[in-house]
Amino acid sequence: MNSLLRRFNVYGDFWMRYLFFAARWCPWFLEPALTWAMGAVFFLALKKTRFTVAANLAVVRPGQTLWQYVKDTFCVILNYGWTLADMAHVRLGDEVIDWEVSGQRHLDGLAQAGAGAVILTAHMGNYDVAAPMFARRLKRRIHTVRVPDRHDETQEFMKERRVENNSEWLTVHYNEPGGMLAVELTRLLQEGELVAIQGDRVLFDVSARPAEFRDGITWQLPRGPFLLALVARVPIVPVFIVRIGWRRYRAIAHEPFQWTGDPRDKNAAQNAAARWWSACLRKVVEQHWYQWFVFERVFERQSIHDDEES
């Protein structure tokens, strides 16, 4: 009985199955209403998520009224619903997404064969759907790293969908506990492959590194991407996928980062990379707060100076 109920949990496979069913069969003239309605249902049902998103927004957009935070939280959840619906359409083989690219000059370097790079991104827009499109455009294989879904049934279902929609240009690696993924990714980077990682959320046993968000407020950023880039001696290219309208996304590439100091000074290199990424991510998160899909508390009110020194 418990395992049956588990499937109806927010992380359960029932909702993912329903999403794909609705994306396949919902008439075009009902889909926006259904997305909006389901967004409202999840907003009302997920109390903990609601409070977490509001707490994150209170740091990203300080000084709003309580009612404004309620509206903003609904906006985040609704946007998440839209991106999930778009993701389902793409996975079902519908080519319905318009893509825009901003900061093309920063991406040109990625198109060169044999040049490895870490593509660092955030949980924004449809990063999951953007990767195959990018890989096809660049004509280069992209290795993406994903945390497995929390429920086995959901993980199995989503894995099947990804396999069905597989592209020769994309390989998905799952960051499972106890795996040797870091070694594999370093090897790939050294061989000149592209590795895309999300660098704004720390889950499970992922090694974290605190960075300053604002005076007195820190956030935890994953240490892995910086270490990978340092060891493989490749640049980090920040690319954010932002939903800018109905079935329209924009890939925004920023100036790449490469450590030019002493490669043996790993601590200084990681500190510099974390500071740079924190500033880069903060700017984008503040601008596109309504689609920053991080449903865990990320901010802490404390000083990081001691930690950096250690």
Binding site: F21, A22, R24, W25, C26, P27, W28, F29, L30, E31, P32, A33, L34, W36, A37, V41, D94, E95, V96, I97, D98, W99, E100, V101, S102, G103, Q104, R105, M133, R137, G245, W246, R247, R250
Partner: protein
């Protein structure tokens, strides 16, 4: 004027209704000034048509659901709790109706595709038609009711359907005359 630079596919989006063709004519995709490149989708729909269509269907179905709820009656003091109950049930019932409109015909279409009776494209067309038929039947029931407000709500749906049908004929004739 903004340029259409580096657009892979500059064709017009797919328009499904005559109403949108006449009142919301589609435009080719344009690369925004602040973007370096745009890759337009192969199967993209007409955004304004979808949004207006969805807004109309959502609004109409919401009011139609209200029409089917037992608001009034001459039951004395029971009227107030009944009114409150109807008010509380309105949105959940509408949400349930939306889900049923997708799930029931969707399951039927999925079955037809699975049994290889229809191909996916035919099943999708059938799905759209069944949902429109269900809403039209609801509109006819409202038109036949004794309540003036319900009749007006039903008439609105039937008027839009009639207008769509007439515009389709006009567009077809004008296409043949060209």
């Amino acid at each position: 004027m903004k340029t259409d630079r580096l657009i892979d596919d500059a064709s017009l989006p797919l328009v499904r209704t005559a109403l949108a063709r006449v009142f919301l004519p589609p435009k080719p995709p344009v690369t925004p000034e602040d973007a370096d490149q745009m890759v337009a989708a192969r199967d993209r729909l007409h955004e304004r048509e979808v949004m207006w269509g969805a807004a109309f269907c959502a609004g109409w179905s919401l009011i139609a659901v209200a029409c089917f709820l037992p608001w009034g009656g001459s039951h004395g003091w029971w009227m107030a709790p009944r009114l409150l109950l109807c008010l509380a049930a309105w949105l959940p019932v509408w949400l349930l109706v939306l889900q049923l409109l997708v799930v029931v015909p969707g399951a039927l279409c999925a079955l037809l595709v699975e049994r290889r009776i229809l191909i996916a494209a035919e099943a999708r067309l059938l799905m759209d038609s069944v949902v429109l038929l269900a809403l039209s039947v609801a509109a006819c029931v409202l038109v036949a009711s004794s309540c003036l407000a319900c009749q007006i709500v039903g008439d609105i749906w039937l008027f839009v359907l009639l207008l769509e049908g007439m515009l389709r004929v006009v567009l077809l004739v004008s296409k043949l005359l060209k």
